[in-house]
Symmetry: C2
Subunit: 304 residues, 2 copies
DNA sequence: GCGATCCGTTAGTGATTCTTACAAATAATC
DNA sequence: GATTATTTGTAAGAATCACTAACGGATCGC
């Protein structure tokens, strides 16, 4: 029996009619696929693909062979999935900040639940950005900065670009055209990020009022709610208001330079990925994060 | 999808109800199997085997899972085999000495042919023990000693124990009871191994006649034929006369100490094993060789 | 024509897998 | 019941395997 790894590479390459595409699917370089195919061709002593320049196509014989390979792998894959699901609900605990939970994680959870009904996700929140004192062990910790812990791995999974948002009706009044116009509005502040407004004003060439005029909140999500209600302007991570912007509830009033942070990160034990449930949830978080890139440079023009 | 390697280990272990046996089947240590199973159990987050001391048995769930795994692998294995066979006959060339070809290799070839009809084996013989001057490239070279060549691998695959044999009827006459009795017979000699008789006599505590009385042959197989015809006694590798001894045509007349050589070896290119045909023939040779161990110490008593 | 894309090869690196120990537990044997 | 021989699981190191990165050659689209 030939190498199963080589057979998988062969199958993927044949299905895509492309070595590179197969590499993308299996998360390896095109070179890795190419080598595995070479090994397989060496094993059988004859070519598996017809190569005409860039394009590759499986031999007539190989095509028939592929059918069986696919059926075999499919059977194994389906059985594995069924076995995994039959094992009862598995619990994954995620700790993050209240704001991130409310405005990013929880809205996306239904999507995960429907894709993986056997996995139960428990979200817990801690107000602190510090992870040192977290009592319980969590499977995944999400924070706004990179973290470090022995035997753990930290992945950046979401851009942290803080932009100014206000309620839709404030924009429609036409009073906000340039950054300086903000000075006429209450500036919603957060206790945990006192430097947000000063840095933002500096970045956009406006001298920052001192003291800032406006209420102080403990959490992002509270200030966002205040902004939605027309209480003033807030500087918040784009990722946490994406849906409100898209829905037209909030608006980014003008083109501006944004505060770019180190990004949102997830922290988990290194061996968490060797577990199917662990890999599933981490892959999902990474995919969700990468799938929603904020526009670089300037925020989108608010919908008309 | 979990690691295919781990699934194979799991399947084999379950089939044998034994980690060690699975290791033997897959040609790895029991530890390797044990670790792969651990990985799989970690992946699924629950045990696959019930362990009661030494004995292991798959979980009820796992047993159902196994069915599908087996079907999947079987499908792939069968398709691979079919694909390999559909590729037309492949040729393997083997070079060895005339004696080895006649008395060991050729008698066994029909067994190989019926197991692998798509592979054509071509046997060529060279009288010399030297492999340096062999002109053509051969896939496999078989000689009585270890060989060395760049990018090649040499495996010992057959014991080389030379013992004394005579025609059956000479034994029945009762004239041969101890080594010393040989002195009354013609001693069949070989040009390539002039030291055989002197060493054998020395090993068995008999002073060797000088010069030896008896005809000189170029090849083992000629001297064996002479022995069969009652012309005298020969010292020949046990492996080359095994079937004649078993059939009662030749006989090992008495218990004696035998000449133990370094063994018969096969030489082939290192990458020959990456080819299916290559691996098939090498595996077959190794299995045939290991399957026919000569009795250690003393030769068998001739059949009555 | 020219840039972009794709495949194949090589050398070097990195990761997985295996082997070789050892420890614990059990089954077999005396 | 003590002893020996098996068998499984774990740990650490070694060996193998697979992958990446970089380059060259070839083709395709513009």
């Amino acid at each position: 029996m030939p190498s199963l790894k080589a057979l998988r590479a062969f199958e993927a390459a044949a299905r895509h009619s492309s070595v590179s595409a197969a590499g993308r699917e299996l998360n390896v370089s095109h070179s890795a696929i190419s080598q595995q195919i070479s090994i397989l061709e060496g094993y059988f002593g004859r070519p598996l693909f017809l190569r005409r320049g860039k394009r590759i196509a499986p031999t007539a014989e190989a095509a028939a062979f592929l059918e069986d390979i696919r059926l075999g792998f499919d059977r194994i894959a389906m059985a594995s999935e069924q076995f995994a699901r039959s094992g009862g609900a598995r619990v994954v605990t995620i700790n993050t900040t209240p704001s991130f939970a409310m405005r990013w994680l929880i809205p996306r959870l239904p999507g995960f639940q429907s894709a993986h009904p056997e996995i139960e996700v428990r979200v817990s929140t801690s107000s602190t950005d510090q992870i040192a004192g977290l009592g319980e062990p969590y499977d995944i910790i999400i924070r706004r900065d990179a973290m470090n812990r022995a035997d753990h791995r930290c992945d950046r999974f979401l851009d942290d670009v803080a932009t100014v948002v206000v309620a839709r009706n404030l924009v429609e009044k036409g009073a906000l055209k340039v950054p300086k116009d903000l000075l006429g509005l209450p500036l919603l502040q957060m206790r945990s990020r006192p430097e947000a407004w000063p840095r933002w004003f500096e970045l956009n060439g406006v001298s920052c009022p001192d003291p800032l005029a406006g209420p102080l909140f403990e959490h992002f999500f509270l200030s966002v709610q205040a902004a939605i209600n027309g209480l003033g302007a807030a500087v918040v991570p784009y990722a946490l208001v994406e849906s409100d912007l898209a829905a037209g509830i909030l608006a980014a009033p003008f083109s501006s330079r944004d505060l770019v942070g180190p990004g949102f990160h997830i922290l988990y034990r290194t061996d968490f990925l060797t577990n199917r449930v662990g890999r599933t949830i981490v892959d999902w978080l990474l995919a969700e994060g990468r799938g929603h890139k904020p526009p670089s440079g300037s925020p989108p023009v608010p919908p008309a």
